[in-house]
């Protein structure tokens, strides 16, 4: 197997927060020791609730945010070692799609120009060809090329997200981070955008990091899924396997809590008690133990590491085997 396109090694990021007027600053761990490898053309989903560090992880992989420790390798290059200029050049190959298409487009510039930005910055086409390139990209995402001169507010949410996708694809990237790209869209439009993303990924052989809180959406678009809780990866594996037999208690609860249009088809319902603990005062041992039905005293003492659990699957739970056996 060839080397992965993107590889995160022991990636961590903490933020310093001021707690109050007189209190000192506190350290908040947003992402904690994450290892992740993404192959060329692979779609990997990152699932977790708000505050689990999935957005921070995505931004670190693109070096829009510097990690506190650990490193990101992109196609064999350590992003830490690159100078500003080299990093800017490398940005052609990695792009981002944001959650809110109303915030990610500049409200005061025509969409065609915004799509053209990446091409101009990286000198990917002659000035005379740019109009054609933009028209081609608009067609690619299912919009009319004549719309290039319009301003973002003239489009609906779904159309804006298509424009944002066109902008990300303009530089022909190898790797795209999509941060909740459909969560702010209407249900009937969500499916259009998901299908478009799936098609484009297949067409261009993109590696995709798809961040979402919606398990069903991830299952649709990704081969592999990573489940995060409080900055840590708790489970990783093939999407279908993780859905069929979640091994970590948190993944189980997450799947059980996701409402379904076929409630009868759902297995036993687990309602997690309590709330996500503060990332400033992280629980000792396993981060999930405060809400876990299976937690024992060992869980508060030993930090579980991601260990192999079946074919192509890793789980960070001390009792994973035991729980699986009792099911």
């Amino acid at each position: 197997m060839s080397a992965p396109l993107v590889r995160a090694e022991k990636l961590s990021r903490s933020f310093r927060l001021r707690q109050g007027l007189f209190a000192g600053k506190a350290e908040m761990m947003a992402v904690c020791d994450v290892d992740l490898a993404i192959d060329r053309g692979e779609a990997i989903g990152v699932v977790g609730e708000s505050g689990c560090g999935k957005t921070t992880l995505g931004r670190m992989l693109l070096r829009l945010l510097a990690p506190t420790s650990g490193r990101v390798m992109f196609d064999g290059q350590n992003l830490d070692d690159l100078g500003r200029l080299d990093l800017r050049r490398l940005r052609r190959r990695m792009q981002m799609i944001f959650q809110d298409p109303f915030a990610s487009l500049d409200p005061r510039r025509p969409v065609g120009r915004q799509i053209a930005d990446g091409i101009l910055i990286h000198n990917l086409a002659d000035r005379s060809d740019i109009v054609d390139r933009v028209a081609e990209l608009l067609k690619l995402v299912g919009l009319d090329p004549s719309h290039a001169s319009r301003l973002p507010h003239e489009f609906s949410g779904g159309q804006r997200q298509r424009i944002a996708i066109a902008r990300a694809l303009a530089t022909r990237p190898d790797f795209v981070v999509a941060d909740e790209p459909v969560s702010s869209l209407d249900v009937s439009v969500q499916a259009q955008v998901l299908n478009l993303l799936a098609d484009l990924r297949a067409e261009f052989g993109l590696a995709l990091l798809f961040i979402s809180h919606d398990l069903h959406v991830v299952r649709h678009i990704c081969e592999r899924v990573v489940v995060m809780y409080l900055g840590c990866i708790v489970e990783e594996g093939k999407a279908a396997d993780v859905f069929r037999g979640p091994a970590h208690p948190y993944t189980r609860a997450l799947i059980a809590a996701t409402p379904s249009i076929r409630p009868q088809a759902r297995r036993n319902k687990i309602v997690l008690s309590g709330e996500l603990p503060s990332a400033i005062k992280r629980p000792s041992g396993c981060v999930f133990r405060t809400r876990c039905a299976y937690a024992t005293t060992t869980c508060s003492e030993t930090v579980p590491t991601l260990s192999r659990f079946g074919e192509g699957r890793t789980v960070a739970c001390l009792r994973a085997a035991e729980i699986a056996a009792n099911k």
Partner: protein, 621 residues
């Protein structure tokens, strides 16, 4: 920009434009020389040759005022422009790069603000000597920090937005991001600051000239004229009047212009009408349905809402809604954004935004006392009595619905006391009891927390506690779990279900866009599209055998079937102002034919408790 806003800008714009134009063409006007003295004619009152009279040296006052305007405006505009350019650059780069750059630019500029402006001006003028050039330098120096601060603050705000990050992700150079992306987005605030600065520079220029530190006599300037007129105030008071009028008039016109400019550039500033008046107007409307039928708990018929846009256009985002809620029943209203579901819920409580009003229909509500009242016909005081008592509402974003400066307990106690006068200890017991009932952990202590100290899920529990405080007959929940995480959403859905079982026959209207949540919580569902109910019936039946193509497509597009291609609905939700003829869904419908666009289909009863607004529903069976 709406037409009305443009109109507002017109009046001060014309005045300022006229003043500027006059100042520009002064050399071409047939005016006497402003510095030619005529000592014998000193202090003469207005005459035909000298419309505003003559000053202490016999010079023509009108001519001096107009030439003075030229000096004042040139000094003010040039100084303001210089300040704007320098200050904006400092603020933009300081705000974008932060760190050391911020220290060198914005913080240095702020140091200037520590000096009293007049003293600083005096110092510089003393050093450089008076004159228009010095004056411009001083004023630019004084006003630049203002621009730096404003552009700094705006840059910090814009910089955090996704479209700036998107530019970074594209690999754009920082200068490009600052000039192409950030500058246009901070420009409106700077424009307003610019017109304010011009007005204030005119005043300061006059002040300095008055003190003899600005424009050098005999050149005309308003400040110098006021200074000259002061000594002859008793013999010729009008000499003081003219330059003062000119000064005040110009400054007022400029201030008006920047007020209006701010309104026009702020998209939120639109015509607002008091909701109180709007409700009063709706009262006159006749009710459509006869109230002979005995309503269950709530029976809405023909509810139609009209919105008037600031430009005067009217459209109906909610049309002909009919729904019933039986005691103890949960009715889900499901639809996409713009389907009118939230407006319908707000209309029931009389909480429509000012631009919207009910123009038809009835909403018969059976109260605790058994009386049946039409919510659409109730006056505001009566509605207020029902609201929070017999009908309660839970909103989508609990963080925005609670007052951030009051403790949870006080807000809850307020709700209880608003409808039931009770003594403090009884209210306290009840409030804590409610918080325990909604499952707020550690209720006794958390009751005295401020909203920001609680998480989103806990806040939603507090909101629910406030809603059920007075044992409502009907609870309307508008997307109560949309802002929450799935594991917390499951907790809140369980809580709502448990509360309904415990209450005696409380009806629940649950507004949501999430079909899966509907399946979890509701017995009956109304599917809304473009302001109409397109299908209605028991949840299990509607989901298993949808009888409207929209419902069918919506269910098919939910990504639940594992991997594989999703069934997507082509096109987008129509705007309420631009609806097609006939069936609203026809343009996106796979089954639509010419008969679909002929007439608006009616909501047809197809079996007991089920209805659809599709003429081809049999084909779907």
């Amino acid at each position: 920009m709406s037409r009305r806003a443009t109109w507002h800008l017109l009046v001060p714009g014309i005045i300022v434009g006229a003043i500027t134009a006059v100042a520009l063409v002064v050399p071409l006007l047939p005016l006497p020389d402003p510095i030619r003295m005529d000592i014998p004619a000193r202090l003469l009152p207005p005459s035909v040759g000298h419309l505003l009279g003559q000053d202490e040296y016999g010079r023509d006052v009108l001519s001096r005022i107009l030439w003075g305007a030229r000096t004042s405006l040139v000094v003010a505009f040039v100084a303001a422009a210089a300040a704007a350019i320098v200050g904006t650059c400092l603020g933009l780069f300081g705000g974008y790069f932060r760190g050391l750059v911020e220290l060198l630019t914005v913080r240095t500029a702020e140091a200037i603000l520590c000096f009293p402006p007049l003293l600083l001006a005096l110092l510089v003028v003393t050093l450089l000597g008076p004159g228009a050039g010095t004056l411009i330098t001083v004023l630019a120096f004084l006003y630049a920090p203002g621009f730096a601060r404003i552009s700094f603050a705006e840059t910090l705000m814009v910089r955090a937005l996704d479209y700036v990050t998107a530019q970074e992700a594209l690999g754009a150079r920082p200068e490009r991001i600052v000039i192409r992306t950030i500058l246009p987005n901070v420009a409106p605030a700077l424009l307003v600051q610019f017109s304010l600065t011009v007005a204030s520079a005119i005043v300061l220029e006059s002040g300095l000239s008055f003190l003899g530190l600005g424009v050098v006599p005999p050149a005309p300037s308003w400040g110098l004229m006021i200074r000259g007129a002061r000594s002859t105030m008793e013999q010729a008071p009008w000499l003081l009047l003219w330059p003062c009028l000119a000064l005040t008039g110009t400054v007022i016109a400029l201030n008006m212009l920047c007020d209006r400019l701010r309104d026009v550039l702020d998209p939120r500033a639109q015509g607002r009408q008091s909701s109180w008046l709007a409700r009063g107007a709706a009262r006159i409307l006749p009710s459509v349905a006869g109230s002979t039928q005995k309503p269950s708990l709530l029976r809405v018929e023909g509810l139609t809402i009209e919105i008037t846009t600031p430009s005067g256009a009217r459209f109906r985002p909610v049309r002909d809604i009919a729904l019933t809620v039986a005691p103890g029943e949960t009715l889900a209203m499901v639809g996409e954004s713009g389907s009118g579901k939230t407006l319908t819920a707000l209309a029931l409580l009389g909480l429509l935004p000012p631009a919207a009003r009910i123009i038809g229909g009835t909403a018969l509500f059976t109260g605790r006392d058994g009386r049946v009242r039409d919510l659409n016909l109730l006056a505001e005081p009566e509605l207020r009595q029902l609201r929070g008592d017999e009908i309660a509402m839970v909103f989508q974003d609990p963080g925005n619905s609670l007052n951030p400066v009051h403790r949870i307990y006080h807000q809850l106690a307020e709700t209880i006391r608003a409808h039931r006068p009770a003594n403090r200890s009884a209210v306290a017991v009840q409030a804590i009891g409610l918080l325990r009932e909604v499952g707020l952990p550690d209720a006794e202590r958390r009751a005295y927390a401020f909203p920001h100290e609680l998480s989103g899920g806990q806040l939603q529990r507090v909101m629910i506690a406030m809603a059920i405080a007075n044992g409502p007959r009907l609870l309307i929940a508008d997307e109560p779990t949309t802002a929450l995480d799935v594991t917390i959403q499951a907790q809140i859905l369980d809580l709502l279900a448990a509360l309904k079982v415990r209450s005696q026959g409380m009806g629940l209207i649950f507004v949501t866009h999430n079909l899966a949540v509907v399946a979890e919580i509701a017995q009956r569902v109304c599917v809304m599209y473009a302001g109409q109910i397109v299908e209605e019936g028991p949840v299990s039946e509607v989901f298993a055998r949808p009888r409207h193509p929209y419902t069918a497509a919506l269910i098919a597009s939910v990504p639940e079937g594992g991997s594989g291609r999703l069934v997507a609905i082509p096109g987008t939700v129509p705007l309420p102002g631009a609806l097609a003829r006939g069936c609203c869904f026809a343009p996106r419908c796979p089954r639509s034919g010419p008969e679909c666009t002929a007439d608006l289909p009616v909501l047809e009863r197809i079996s007991s408790g089920r209805a659809t607004r599709c003429i081809k529903w049999r084909e779907l069976a």
